[in-house]
Symmetry: C2
Subunit: 151 residues, 2 copies
DNA sequence: GACATATAGTTAGTTATGCAACTAATATAA
DNA sequence: TTATATTAGTTGCATAACTAACTATATGTC
């Protein structure tokens, strides 16, 4: 118990900041080098809109694991850059539906290629089995902390 | 190639923000509930000082995967809360050595317990083998992106 | 219909992040 | 030994994160 617990404590330091930040920084740099003036956070929102346009802010927050306040500002900035458009829903006027602009649409292909290229650099020697384990572990960690979050 | 690449692209979204953020948020909440007024970022610095006191700011940045500017501000805030002290090195006066104060020292035990408790919640059903794989994968991802970072 | 409650989004305040440009101290090279 | 380069840390600028308090719309109940 004691020895194992320490190893568990270590996981946090390893996971937080290290690889995720390295990947994020590299992808950001690759965007910049390609003349794309978007942050990876903005890209994470666009990524989901390219898959399904016209999502609500709340739904975008859920899919990108952000709270609504953070989502609001991210979309503020995306709107400032005219990559995205807020349209009030006709069924429920509390809801803003977020749509891609004609400027954002053609960026999908370029960012898709840059993201894949970055992932290939990052995951060079890592097997599909290992990736599947990482994804599975992270999904379970997330579920462990959110499903029973009753307080 | 094509199908596999898309899966690789997905890993980024899964890893970034989801589990790491969930763990960080939970730990932060547990700190707050225990009356500890420190952020997890501050804790990540203290964690390394408890292991080895008197590290330079640069070394702390390396161990917590931060650039020097972020490290500077983090230590500014820790110093404001009197948890940490900067002392100019006598050998090399460019270097600040960072020392724990008497206020910070006794916090080790409490945060250690809270971090372990949080990790036990987060890693409930996850085996030691899986954790080892995750750690190993993340180390290799980090190495892939930093070792050959020649630009 | 009126009042209480829930929901979507915004705003204010604090901390943190990265990059780039800067200062000060040290090391290297002529 | 002076000029040049490198290194450790700080500061300015912009983006982003979370919490908590707020507005406005919708829903539910009496």
């Amino acid at each position: 118990m004691s020895n194992n617990q320490f190893k568990r404590g270590e996981l946090y330091s390893v996971v937080n900041g290290m690889a995720t930040t390295a990947v994020a920084r590299r992808l950001q740099k690759n965007f910049r080098n390609a003349g794309l003036d978007i942050t990876i956070e903005q890209w994470s929102v666009l990524y989901h809109l390219w898959k399904e346009d016209g999502l609500s802010q709340l739904e975008l927050g859920n899919r990108t694991f952000r709270d609504k306040a953070s989502t609001t500002r991210l979309i503020d900035n995306l709107e400032k850059q005219e990559l995205v458009l807020r349209v009030a829903s006709k069924e429920d006027r509390r809801i803003n539906l977020v749509y891609l602009t004609d400027i954002a649409k053609p960026l999908q292909q370029i960012t898709y290629e840059l993201a894949n290229q970055t992932m290939n650099e990052a995951l060079l020697d890592i097997t599909k089995e290992e990736i599947d384990i990482v994804k599975n572990v992270f999904q379970r960690v997330y579920d462990n902390l959110t499903n029973k979050d009753l307080i």
